[in-house]
């Protein structure tokens, strides 16, 4: 956990602009900096980069499971125990040429809750996960994506109650759906985006064949969703290649 050693802090406020979620605050009276624990996501930007000129920012132990989860998910240098992958613990489309996680006739759903840079309470992640699960998304399990470790039921996306108030820099809801369910899933997202207190970035994974891409673009057009102009392209050089 991030904390300020009050004996060392000189109140210079150098650290304040470095925090991605503005968790550093300055006391009115003593003019020292403190960490608002309700906002801090334990991303450790401040600790890793030694932003305090007098070394007053210190790390104390993460004393409960949710704090540990928050740190793993918010600090990309930490490896997720469940997936064995650093950087929030997921590979999604990047290795699809060798894993075949997303096949023809299905679409991958990657919902980056709290992005770009806003942060999110897991309560909102639960809302979105439940909405897409109900619309036909099969959510990925804990061996694939860290958020699933908090789910009481992978079929519904419901999270354990003690997780709901936890604040994270971002967390990914991952899953996939059969082609015919994609319109329902996107419509569910159009509804639930109005019910959350944060933002999310949406990525849809498709095999690169013309038939899949055409279906995807037609679906977007029908729903009034602008055609994407950015993408992450797996160029198919992994071996053994999943055809």
């Amino acid at each position: 956990m991030v904390q300020i050693n009050r004996k060392l802090c000189v109140g210079c406020a150098t650290c304040i602009p470095y925090c991605p979620v503005e968790a550093f605050k300055k006391e009115a009276e003593e003019r020292k900096v403190y960490v608002d624990e309700g906002i801090c996501t334990n991303c450790y930007v401040c600790i890793r980069n030694k932003v305090c000129p007098v070394g007053a920012i210190e790390e104390s132990s993460l004393d409960n499971f949710m704090k540990q989860f928050q740190h793993v998910i918010s600090d990309p240098t930490v490896t997720s125990e469940g997936t064995g992958v650093p950087g929030r613990g997921t590979e999604e489309a990047k290795t699809n040429d060798v894993t075949g996680r997303y096949g023809r006739g299905e679409f991958g759903i990657c919902i980056d809750m709290g992005r770009p840079g806003i942060g999110c309470r897991l309560r909102d992640a639960e809302k979105v996960a439940m909405a897409v699960a109900q619309a036909g998304v099969v959510l990925e399990g804990p061996e694939i994506t860290p958020l699933a470790t908090l789910m009481t039921d992978i079929k519904t996306g419901k999270l354990i109650d003690e997780a709901l108030d936890t604040n994270v820099l971002s967390v990914i809801i991952e899953g996939k759906c059969p082609k015919e369910k994609l319109p329902d899933v996107l419509m569910a997202l159009q509804r639930v985006e109005k019910e959350i207190e944060t933002t999310f970035c949406l990525g849809i994974v498709s095999r690169a064949e013309q038939e899949e891409v055409s279906f995807f673009f037609e679906t977007l057009e029908k729903l009034g969703i602008p055609k994407p102009f950015r993408g992450k392209v797996n160029v198919g050089l992994g071996r053994p290649l999943i055809p």
Binding site: I16, P17, Y18, C19, P20, E22, C43, V45, P76, T77, V85, P86, G87, R88, G89, T90, E91, A93, K94, T95, N96, V98, Y102, C110, D112, R115, P116, G117, I118, L169, L189, E193, I196, E197, T198, T199, F200, C201, L202, G203, I204, V205, S206, A208, F216, I225, P226, P228, F229, R230, G231, K232, V233, N234, V235, G236, L237, G238, R239, I242
Partner: protein
Amino acid sequence: MTHSLHRFGSIESQRNDFVWFIYQSKGINDVDFEEKARRAITIAEKCGSENWGDVKLGCKLKCPVNEIVTNLSRQSRIRGVFTKREQVVEFLKEMKKADLGLSVIISGLLDEVLPSCEEAELTPHTINYSLGVWGKKDLLPEEDVLAVTSMCGHHMIAANLIRKKMEEVKKGRKSAEKAAEELAVLCPCGIFNQVRAARILQEAAVKA
């Protein structure tokens, strides 16, 4: 993780911004990954990658290149940025020739990346499409700040720090290039494009 997918800012400012990845998959093709990664890094450097790194060790602007290369492990994640389409094409051609068996991914504008694949005679396997930001968009910072924060997809670079750097450039306290490099070292993956960031900081200073 989709940390290179959702970058923001004007289309024109994204045109010279490409993220490359070399990925192994545990239990499938991670044997001898360290050696293969070293070869891939050599190719990326030869093609002019402006920044690259390993999330565990840091980016090359922060950590000496030799140190990163020496300390690579089977779990390392290698990625970086190109600032020209020609670099992407050359990189893809070289990676195809090297035939390392690792997944190679390029993130960027589709009207730049897909023709680059074609030029390198590669057939894309899978595409993760960005459908942008949803939800409470009024929480987002101003466009030029968002263009810079989103170049570290894990959001290790705070909006307020970017505003501070913009102010320093505007007041002539430091060059846009220096300010951009100070921001780049906070992104441990090495996918922050300091060349594009310097341009955005400079433009913001002129506008102000």
